[in-house]
Structures are given as structure tokens and as C-alpha cells.
Symmetry: C2
Subunit: 148 residues, 2 copies
DNA sequence: ACAACATCTTAGCAAGGGCTAAATTTAGGT
DNA sequence: ACCTAAATTTAGCCCTTGCTAAGATGTTGT
């Protein structure tokens, strides 16, 4: 009789969107860590706890805890009192994250955002950009590049 | 003698960006809650725990916990077994969040992202968009609107 | 009025992600 | 070689954000 609850359907869609955001939040930290670890290894030859702490703005103890979780999840390998290495899965995630991060940052700059703000905002936005949106970002960047 | 550690300066900037993201994560949930509460009050006359739970995809108990924190932080008022009201601060945050959320969603659509993806991605991106970037988004939306 | 049902609350649990302080181990300088 | 400083790890704490299960309170139909 009553219109079969469209309201409920909207609520369900809304709830699904939230679940996506919650999932993204669970993987963010891992993405940022492996991306940074890959960067440090490339630039300096190794990734040490103290360096990660400095680059992330957290304490050594916090890095240590997180690294243990990453190891549990198969993204890094460590030996006691030694520096940190990426597994194949870790390297792959790092590479993906780096590419996505770069596109988001370049996109913001192409849009007219100053590069310092782009750096800041990209660090958060990157984790919530679906592949469809990322494609749209990349397209915009390329178009802007061609037209200059 | 050596170039005064530019490496360290880059690390410091990186760390600051991370601190920003961590701060954003602390306010996200509050923003989404008050935005939804305002919406429910406007549409249905009241915001009840069970409705919030349905719209957010979490349990009643979780909503209850979060609402207590929001009350502690001066964003909502509640009386036992009654529905939820926004304080002035809560209403203001809700309004701000709604506007920003709308701009982000419209921006993604204007960029060519399908509306369903835009809905999903905007829910996460909104919390990491600075006022400078938001301004750039709004400008792009207006330009796209005029040119159609 | 009151039974049944819905809603709200509480209690108790877990994981994530921060911190400080105190070991422990490694690495350097003399 | 050894003493010291730096780096890593551990232990113990806190808050957030989720859950389930059970109790308390409101609401509604008969
Ligand atoms: Mn990144
Ligand atoms: Mn990031
Ligand atoms: Mn929102
Ligand atoms: Mn949101």
C-alpha cells in the first residue's frame, strides 16, 4: 500500500557507503607505511624504525607496534634489531599506493591548488579514491598537460 | 659543511601532513553523525538511535557509545530513552559538513564520475579536503555548470 | 490493563593506534 | 677492548570504535 520503503533503500545505500569508508580506514595506515618504506629503501638503502618514526611524526614504539601488525599481515619482514624489508605483497601495495598518491597530488595541482596544500590533502584523499575516480583524475591531468 | 639537512626538512613536512590526517580522522565520525542527525531531523522530525544505526550500518550499541562521546564533546544533547538533538555547535558543524559534502559530490560528478561512485567516494574524501581545495572544487563545478 | 514488541542502555569484550618509561641490543669512538 | 650513545624492543597505559548479550524502558494493540 505505502510505497515500498524507498526510505529504507536509501538508508541501506548510505550504510554501504559507510562500510566502505570504514574498510578504507583499516588499510590506510598499511598503505602509507609500505609506501614510505619503499621510498626510504630506494633513497637511503634501508628503512629503519627511527626513520619511519621521524617521517611519520610518531614515536619509535608506535612504529614498532605497527610494523608487527604489518608483519602479521604479510607485508613486511623483520629480524630483531634489524631494518625492515618489504615482502612481494608489500612491494606491490607500495607501488600501487605510490602511483595513486602521485596521481591525486598531480590532479590537485592541475586543478589549481597550491602544491603545499596539494601535498597535505593528497595524503588523506588518496585512500578514498576508487579506481573509477582515479581514472577521471588521471584523464584530467593529461588533458591539462596537453593544453599547456 | 654538508648541505644543512634538507632531508630532515622533508621528513618534517611529511610528518606534519600525517599529523593532519590523524587529526581529520578524529573528527570524521563526529562530522558524519551530526550531518546525518540534522538530515533525519529535517526529513522525519527526529533522530533516533535505531535510525542512525540503520543509516550508518552499525549496531544500536555502537551508536549509543558514539552519541555519548558527542554529548561529552558538546555536539548533541540527549535524555534517557529519548531522541537526539543537536546543540548550536552541533548544528553548525552539521551545516558546514553538509555543504562541504555536497560540493565534493557535485565536483566528482562534474568531473565525469558516475553518481553512484561519486556518492561512495565523497563520503570519505570530504573529510580530507582543505578550504583551499574546496574552493577549487566549487570553482570547477560552477565553471562546468555555466558551460553546459 | 497488560502482554508483546520495539527501542534504548549497560556490561563486557576485542582490535587498532597512540603514548611514556624502562629494558635490551647494536654501533661508534677512544 | 670497552664505554657510551643510539636504536630497538617490551611493558603498561589510554582512548576510539566496533561487537554481542542481556537488562531496562517505552509503545502499542487488544
Ligand atoms: Mn600515500
Ligand atoms: Mn596517506
Ligand atoms: Mn558527509
Ligand atoms: Mn563522510
Amino acid at each position: 500500500m505505502c510505497p515500498p520503503d524507498d526510505l529504507n533503500a536509501e538508508a541501506r545505500r548510505h550504510a554501504e557507503r559507510f562500510q566502505r569508508v570504514r574498510e578504507a580506514h583499516q588499510t590506510e595506515l598499511a598503505e602509507d607505511y609500505v609506501e614510505l618504506i619503499a621510498h626510504l629503501i630506494e633513497e637511503t638503502g634501508e628503512a629503519r624504525v627511527v626513520d619511519l618514526a621521524g617521517w611519520l611524526g610518531v614515536t619509535n614504539a608506535t612504529v614498532n607496534n605497527t610494523i608487527q601488525r604489518l608483519q602479521r599481515d604479510g607485508l613486511v619482514t623483520t629480524k630483531p634489531y634489524r631494518s625492515i624489508f618489504l615482502t612481494d605483497a608489500g612491494r606491490e601495495l607500495a607501488e600501487q599506493s605510490r602511483k595513486r598518491h602521485d596521481i591525486v597530488r598531480e590532479f590537485l595541482i592541475a586543478l589549481g591548488v597550491d602544491s603545499q596544500t596539494a601535498d597535505i590533502d593528497a595524503e588523506g584523499i588518496e585512500h578514498h579514491v576508487s579506481s573509477a575516480t582515479l581514472k577521471a583524475f588521471a584523464k584530467f591531468v593529461n588533458k591539462a598537460r596537453r593544453s599547456t
